[in-house]
């Protein structure tokens, strides 16, 4: 399964919630072994797009193919790790129990220690989640998404509330995973994070406005800073 050259293939996906159009014909490809950043303001459709990767959003038009399987498909989800924006954990369980549970439902519990060490929570593994700080919960939630060693990792704003030092550490970890052939999709609205991605997709009003490496996007917009490029390409800047 990990031998597919394309980890995620999104083709013309349209999704409405009532009259609100959340995804307006999005097409993009995430290659195997790359870190793909979804960049866009709040409400741009990033979360809806990520949810469509795991079959939680059924597109009205278009198709989503994940690790070579047309979604929705249950079995392939064992190879996908999904970290929701909100730290989705059981507050009455310890950090380790949470990670173990999410490993178990995905069929693998041998990576509990590795996952907790990755997010620097091994020492706090016995702590009940409700006693952890917000940043620690975010990290625990990330560990839950990693524990079954997925080929595709979907991270919806993974470093919100995480201190800068640990953020650097986590990104090093993401880069290592990508180097080992695993694919990562990260949504963010933080520009310095976006700079660390191999390729970026700019989303606004449910449309993919631009796609490419950081350098390509800067070049397309004709500016030096990614932030300016983003504003220019999304039509906010009038220059």
């Amino acid at each position: 399964m990990a031998t597919e050259a394309v980890a995620v293939d999104v083709d013309g996906v349209v999704k409405r919630f009532g009259k609100q159009i959340a995804l307006d014909g999005v097409s993009l490809r995430v290659r195997r072994g790359e870190v793909y950043g979804l960049l866009g303001p709040n409400g741009a459709g990033k979360t809806t797009l990520i949810r469509s990767f795991v079959g939680l959003v059924a597109p009205e038009q278009g198709t989503v193919t994940v690790l070579g399987r047309r979604m929705p498909q249950l079995e392939v989800l064992a190879h996908v790790g999904y970290m929701t924006q909100q730290a989705a954990l059981y507050p009455d369980l310890s950090a380790e129990e949470n990670v173990h549970f999410f490993g178990a439902i995905n069929g693998r519990v041998d990576g509990v220690r590795e996952a907790l060490e990755f997010v620097d929570l091994w020492d706090r593994r016995k702590s009940v989640v409700s006693t952890l700080s917000g940043g620690m919960r975010t990290r625990c939630s990330l560990a839950c998404a990693l524990v079954h060693k997925p080929d595709l990792l979907l991270l919806d704003e993974p470093t919100v509330g995480v201190d800068p030092q640990l953020r650097v550490q986590l990104w090093d970890g993401f880069r290592k995973m990508a180097a080992a052939g695993r694919s990562i999709v990260v949504s963010s609205h933080v520009m310095d994070e976006a700079e660390r991605c191999d390729r970026l997709g700019l989303i606004r009003f449910g449309k993919l406005l631009a796609e490419g490496t950081v350098a390509e996007i800067k070049a397309k917009a004709g500016v030096d800073r990614l932030e300016e490029a983003f504003l220019k390409l999304s039509g906010v800047s009038d220059s």
Binding site: R51, V54, G55, L56, V57, A58, L74, E75, L77, A78, V80, Y82, T84, Q86, A87, A88, L89, Y90, P91, F102, I105, N106, G107, C144
Partner: protein, 365 residues
């Protein structure tokens, strides 16, 4: 103390309710529904207890008593043969009958005692009480005619006995109810928390199948519910000494089925609530009407006709009836009434399991 700050809190509360139409509806609608139901139940002209009058008396006094009973408004008495009355008592068609023996008049005139036999079904203390009252009242007329009579009825019970009291009657039902309602509320709230804290989203993004989630929930909560059942049963039987002539294993079987039904009803109904607050609202909506109509407090046979039909549709009615059949009447699996009771509860279990699994998909996509 700042009036403005206090006012801000009060105003905010009212603002929240303005958007929660369901809570408003419940706040103003539920009391009326429950009171109306209770009013109809108690004043809706329900049936009075049915009883038989077996008059074997050779003299004239027997027919005086018999006609006094048949005129009574507190019971619906009709004449029948001794064998017919006994058969109807056993099937539960009548709650009791009075038998006036062949020497009834003779005894009354010679020994100055009137000694009718009163045979009571006995499983429902309220009905037994009505019949005993009517019978003794019917003799008041007789005592007026021939003064100085001693009234010494000989009372027998088919089920229960003279010491059988209200707790024995309610106890059988409550053993099941406590488990059913607590498990229902706990499951509904737990499932809503799963939704609210976002972990359900994670479960749905894993290879877990819906049936696996429902089954996992069912097993987990059933363990809790069974432990609770054992505790409730042991306390009722060993500490409170609630009347039981039946097989404890059968009681437990029925309780276990109710627990499984409650878990799945909790999962199913939690799909229709957004918050834990709304889940708690199912108590007056789902639980209270069932409490009133499942024959727990008021015997179904004395409810107004339309409510009897409604009661006969509620699965809880059969669970309560089943528990009473076992504990009060000593029913075993060869009894067709108990087969029906267990069958209905089992069918309800299957229905809510399927309903829970079906709604889970609908709310996620």
């Amino acid at each position: 103390m700042s009036g403005r700050r206090v006012g801000a809190i009060s105003t905010r509360l009212l603002q929240q309710f303005r958007r929660d139409h369901r809570t408003l509806g419940l706040l103003f609608g539920a009391p009326l529904v429950i009171l109306a139901l209770l009013g109809y139940l108690l004043r809706g002209g329900g049936d009075v207890p049915k009883m038989g009058v077996v008059n074997l008396d050779g003299g004239g006094l027997g027919s005086v008593v018999a006609s006094a009973l048949e005129r009574s408004k507190a019971v619906s008495a009709s004449p029948m043969s001794a064998a017919g009355a006994e058969a109807k008592l056993r099937t539960g068609d009548i709650a009791g009958y009075v038998l006036l023996p062949a020497d009834f008049s003779v005894q009354a005139l010679q020994r100055r005692t009137i000694a009718p036999e009163v045979h009571l079904e006995g499983s429902q203390p309220g009905l037994s009480q009505s019949i005993l009252q009517s019978v003794s009242q019917s003799f008041v007329a007789l005592a007026g005619q021939a003064g100085g009579l001693q009234f010494a009825p000989r009372i027998t019970f088919l089920y229960g006995g003279p010491s059988f009291d209200t707790l024995d009657y309610f106890g059988a039902a409550f053993i099941g109810l406590v488990v059913f309602f607590l498990v229902f509320v706990i499951t509904a709230v737990a499932f809503l928390r799963e939704r609210g804290q976002g972990t359900l989203e994670r479960l749905m993004a894993s290879p877990l199948r819906r049936a696996e989630i429902v089954l996992g929930y069912m097993l987990g909560f059933t363990v809790l519910a069974l432990v609770q059942s054992v505790e409730v049963l042991a306390f009722s039987l060993l500490v409170l000494h609630v009347h039981n002539v039946g097989n404890v294993a059968l009681i437990f079987l029925l309780e276990a089925l109710m627990a499984i039904a409650a878990v799945n009803l909790g999962i199913f109904l939690s799909m229709f609530a957004r918050t834990e607050f709304q889940a708690v609202q199912f108590i007056p909506l789902v639980i209270v009407p069932q409490m009133l109509l499942a024959g727990i407090i008021f015997p179904i046979s004395t409810e107004p006709g339309p409510l009897q039909a409604l009661s006969r549709v509620l699965p809880l009615t059969y669970a309560v009836e089943g528990l009473r059949n076992i504990m009060i009447k000593g029913a075993d699996l060869s009894w067709s009434t108990l087969q029906l009771d267990i069958g209905v509860v089992l069918g309800f279990c299957v229905l809510v399991i399927l309903a829970g699994a079906a709604t889970l998909r609908r709310r996620i996509a």
